[in-house]
Point group: C2
Chain length 190, copies 2
């Protein structure tokens, strides 16, 4: 049974407070495209993330969240000149900072810039079929002809509100030569 | 026995003819730093590589070669807007093109832009110790705590003129969370 692989390009999640500062008091996110995870969507709004070395523009993913979080690749981190740790979403304590610039204002983000730890979202039904549990760390094969990889340290997250998909970043997708519709399989000890 | 992992950032090799055009008739490469492979060195000269979407500046690695070859990551390829194939060094037929810009002139490179296929350089002595042969394709483990990976499709190249090292690009190093001094090990079937 294959797991759909989705590549996350750099993006950010914003708090209501920061949305107000970046796009003006009372600003609302503009839905652009649904994502695979139910209730999540790409927005039309774009924000400049400014580091010591350079700046990168990225989209906001909605809806708003309690804390602003910027998710970049390690390639992006080097481009920006920030030291972003590899973290699970939401675990931003002590992570990197950056300046965020929107059309209405700027935010000095003290922490919140991370490189997302690769993970699998899955439903309780699929988790049972795969034989995995919430928070389990698994090995996953992405078999492309040119750049086949086995990813260690893949965290499984189980929730009835998820759709089953593996999320990797652009560095990881490129290292696997993964483009188009790609499926991963769990690797089991013999 | 570990194999030293070296990460190749984007770079280029130039022909004498293109060196003349880019840096002026009779130009010579300026040694800056020796590389691990005997006789290879990083040069002070830098060239702008221009694609349909943007441009990237990169160093030349010396000495000059019969054909100019630009080695980029898939992240770089996307940045430039070129479709660069994953190839072994020297296998540039039908690969991507780009405009090269130096202080003295420009070259319209018809082909030569590739993403280097990951590989291991090794000496005959080390190859024997590892139990591998020239052109063999092996699986290699890079065990980092955060982003452990097993790389498939790693080509072994054996020559007495090599130093033993595994070469990966920046996407691959980032996907493995490899920074600083990192060693890889061959993965064997049980």
């Amino acid at each position: 049974m294959g797991i759909l692989v989705e590549t996350s390009a750099r993006h950010m999640h914003v708090s209501e407070e920061h949305l107000d500062i970046l796009f003006g008091k009372g600003a609302k996110l503009t839905w652009k495209k649904d994502l695979s995870q139910p209730g999540q969507y790409a927005c039309a709004e774009r924000v400049e993330v400014i580091g010591p070395k350079s700046r990168l523009t990225m989209s906001i993913l909605g809806p708003t969240r309690p804390s602003t979080q910027v998710e970049i690749s390690l390639t992006d981190a080097r481009t920006l000149g920030v030291t972003a740790p590899i973290r699970e979403s939401g675990d931003i304590k002590g992570s990197a900072g950056a300046t965020l610039k929107g059309p209405a204002g700027e935010v000095e983000l003290k922490e919140g810039v991370i490189v997302a730890k690769r993970h699998i979202h899955t439903t309780p039904e699929d988790a049972e079929a795969f034989g995995v549990k919430d928070k389990e760390v698994v090995d996953v094969l992405i078999n492309t002809d040119e750049r086949t990889l086995v990813f260690g340290e893949v965290v499984v997250r189980v929730s009835p509100s998820f759709a089953t998909a593996m999320h990797i970043d652009t560095d990881e997708a490129n290292a696997a030569g993964a483009s188009g519709e790609v499926y991963a399989t769990l690797v089991r000890e013999a």
